[in-house]
């Protein structure tokens, strides 16, 4: 076991994938000498060279578009989008090409491209640096969408994403980059790529979360203990596909369900989960599925982000509401 930050765990995971498969490439803005603005690719260019760790021109559509071409030629590009808000210039290539080309070729073409996106807020950044764009991509058929929440998962999930034959949108919770935990870098620790995980067991309410909100939910669960409430926390990990059986299993046991994410609630990813849980667990539910997320406004200036982002209190407030039904 090694203690690693989430950023370092991703770095080690990519390094392992690059060692295991010479077709794996890392590409993006500033990923070389600088090691990325978050240093997630730190040292990779030094060890694997400029042919495998490519500082690209400043053009996101170009990054994804050329990654598609490289993948068509048998490479496995891992693209870094510097910040969530800058994935939109690449959205055309991701949505119209990356997601659909395998289908168009009747399965003859495979596009094992990973698009890494540092996501979410909480770091006091300026505009466009704190977005939660997952719903755009979960809504796009043909993409796998995953979100890691801790170093151990990050280490495994990035390797799984790179090995996956499908395009993967890989969300990294940027405000958790510096948090440390034990990572078993020796074992493959392989888990099915689309499996959710119960990260805390409880009996009264199921909290469903992913990425940065997993930790927030764990803190809320701990705090709720004092009120004698037992909250179960499930880390979804994969948003598309969704591990519906793990979710419904938990909700059937607890009878209450709250989805927590940073993105605006309106038409957010939580809506999909709420609908699904309602369909499948209607007779087990003691209260409606509730959602906690950002307001339906653009991400605010950083001095307001503490109000925008769901915190422990907002989660507990929703728990109260669930019990009040």
């Amino acid at each position: 076991m090694t203690i690693l930050t989430l950023a370092k765990a991703l770095n080690e995971g990519m390094r392992k994938a690059m060692e295991d498969d010479s077709k794996v490439l890392v590409m993006g803005e500033d990923v070389g000498k600088l090691g990325g603005v978050f240093r997630v690719t730190d040292g990779l260019q030094k060890d694997f060279g400029e042919q495998r760790v490519i500082d690209t021109p400043l053009a996101e559509s170009g990054i994804i578009g050329t990654a598609i071409g490289l993948a068509l030629r048998g490479y496995r590009p891992v693209c870094e989008i510097q910040f969530d808000g800058f994935v939109f210039p690449a959205a055309d290539q991701i949505i119209t090409q990356l997601a659909k080309m395998p289908l168009r070729s009747l399965g003859k073409l495979r596009l094992p491209v990973v698009v890494r996106i540092p996501c979410g807020g909480g770091i006091g950044a300026v505009e466009h640096h704190s977005e939660s764009p997952e719903a755009y991509f979960t809504h796009t058929a043909g993409l796998r969408v995953v979100a890691c929440s801790n170093p151990a998962d990050a280490y495994t999930m990035i390797q799984q994403a790179i090995r996956c034959e499908d395009p993967v949108i890989f969300f990294e919770p940027k405000r958790r980059y510096w948090e440390k935990a034990e990572v078993d870098v020796d074992s493959s620790g392989w888990i099915p790529f689309d499996e959710a995980k119960v990260v805390r067991q409880g009996t009264d309410v199921t909290l469903l979360a992913y990425g940065p909100m997993v930790k927030t939910c764990l803190e809320a669960a701990k705090a709720a203990e004092d009120d004698g409430r037992s909250l179960e926390v499930v880390d979804l990990r994969s948003l598309n596909p969704l591990d519906v059986s793990k979710i419904t299993e938990s909700v059937r046991r607890t009878g209450r369900c709250i989805v927590v994410h940073e993105a605006p609630v309106y038409n957010g990813f939580g809506a999909e989960i709420a609908a699904r849980v309602t369909e499948e667990c209607f007779y087990n539910l003691q209260s409606p599925v509730l959602r906690v997320g950002g307001p339906s406004t653009p991400y605010p200036p950083s001095r307001l982000e503490d109000h925008y982002l769901p915190d422990l209190d907002r989660v507990l407030h929703a728990v109260d509401r669930a019990f009040a039904f």
Partner: protein, 363 residues
């Protein structure tokens, strides 16, 4: 597999210069300019004051008062020269580093600090100053500037737009699309590229194999390279480009050849990718020192003048600092303000819900 450098090589680019790094005035057949002593003193004052605001902002960031700051250090001449070439009716579209242009447009520096402190996303009225909001997404604003110019064209107005962007931005699709639009519609727009050699850690060679000003010819309009550390040249070249645009001659690309003296932003660490010698070489081309030398030599100002400007800069620095510390955090419910122009029921409902939630803590 690095590209064969000789393939892109042509004659070395001509650099339009009117004032040497030593403060010598030189002539240029196409771009000469007559400046009164008063105007020269004004430019010197602008350069000095914006540098001071910038240094104060860096200091404030270091002390935790700003979340981030993008310093203009070294790029003052490009910004003041081009900014002072604008007439009131012209419209400027900046990126996030154009503090000097903002200064020329009369935007109170505290607004710039407010953005980087995180109290708002802009805050000034772009129409009041004809200075658009800062744009963080690289290259987006170039298309806005072209569209605005197309509007000017339709209105038959005596104006042009100017858009600022960096060397890295020239790689973006939007910027290339802006070049195409501007050219095809003969829009009155000046593309002002501050080539400061670096896009965060990536040197110019990672964006282009030809001098950037030559890109323009492929799109069908002229491009020039100007010494970006020479405020006279930047003023002269921009003035002419704007005049031509206003008189229906179409777009122009100006590449101001300059250097980013500091880090990309306060979160950056240039020691990881940049050698110190490069920085030292550019220090000798400082945009303010050369004007100062010129003024001394030509007795356009005496020590008293320089002392007075320094005192004014100190006062401005103090004032900006004080007002920055006094900037209040916005009210929580401000999250819901200004998202829509017209009444919006979802906003109303969410605002009310959030207000109730907040009241719960007061009880």
């Amino acid at each position: 597999m690095t590209a064969d450098a000789s393939r892109g090589a042509e004659a070395p680019p001509e650099l339009i210069q009117l004032l040497t790094p030593e403060g010598e005035r030189v002539e240029h057949p196409d771009y000469d300019i007559d400046l009164t002593p008063e105007e020269v003193r004004g430019l010197y004052r602008d350069l000095t004051l914006v540098r001071r605001v910038d240094l104060e902002a860096v200091a404030l960031q270091r002390q935790g008062e700003l979340g981030l700051w993008a310093s203009l250090l070294g790029q003052e001449a490009a910004q003041i020269g081009s900014g002072r070439a604008l007439t009131e009716a012209d419209m400027a579209f900046p990126t996030y580093r154009e503090h000097g242009v903002a200064w020329c447009r009369g935007v109170d520096p505290i607004n710039l600090l407010g953005l980087f402190r995180g109290v708002n996303h802009g805050g000034w009225d772009p129409a009041e100053h004809n200075f658009h909001l800062y744009t963080i997404v690289i290259g987006s604003q170039t298309l806005h500037a072209v569209g605005y110019a197309m509007g000017i064209q339709r209105d038959g107005a005596e104006a042009a737009s100017i858009v600022y962007f960096g060397d890295g931005a020239t790689s973006q699709g939007d910027v290339n699309e802006a070049f195409i639009w501007a050219s095809v519609f003969n829009a009155p727009v000046v593309f002002f590229c501050q080539n400061n050699q670096w896009a965060i850690s990536e040197p110019l060679e990672k964006q282009t194999r030809i001098p950037l000003y030559r890109r323009a010819s492929g799109f069908g309009f002229p491009g020039v390279r100007v010494d970006g550390n020479d405020v006279f040249a930047c003023l002269a070249v921009t003035r002419k480009a704007l005049a031509e645009a206003r008189s229906g001659q179409g777009p122009m690309l100006i590449e101001a050849f300059t250097y980013r003296m500091g880090a990309h932003t306060t979160s950056d660490d240039p020691t990881r990718y940049r050698v110190a010698a490069e920085l030292e070489a550019w220090k000798l081309k400082d945009p303010i020192e050369r004007v100062r030398a010129y003024m001394f030599k030509n007795q356009i100002a005496d020590q008293e003048f320089f002392d007075a400007i320094d005192a004014e800069a100190d006062e401005l620095g103090r004032d900006v600092r004080k007002r920055c510390l006094e900037l209040p955090d916005p009210e929580p419910l401000a999250i819901f303000d200004h998202v829509y122009a017209e009444q919006h029921s979802l906003m109303d409902a969410e605002r009310a819900e959030f207000a109730t939630y907040l009241e719960g803590f007061e009880a």
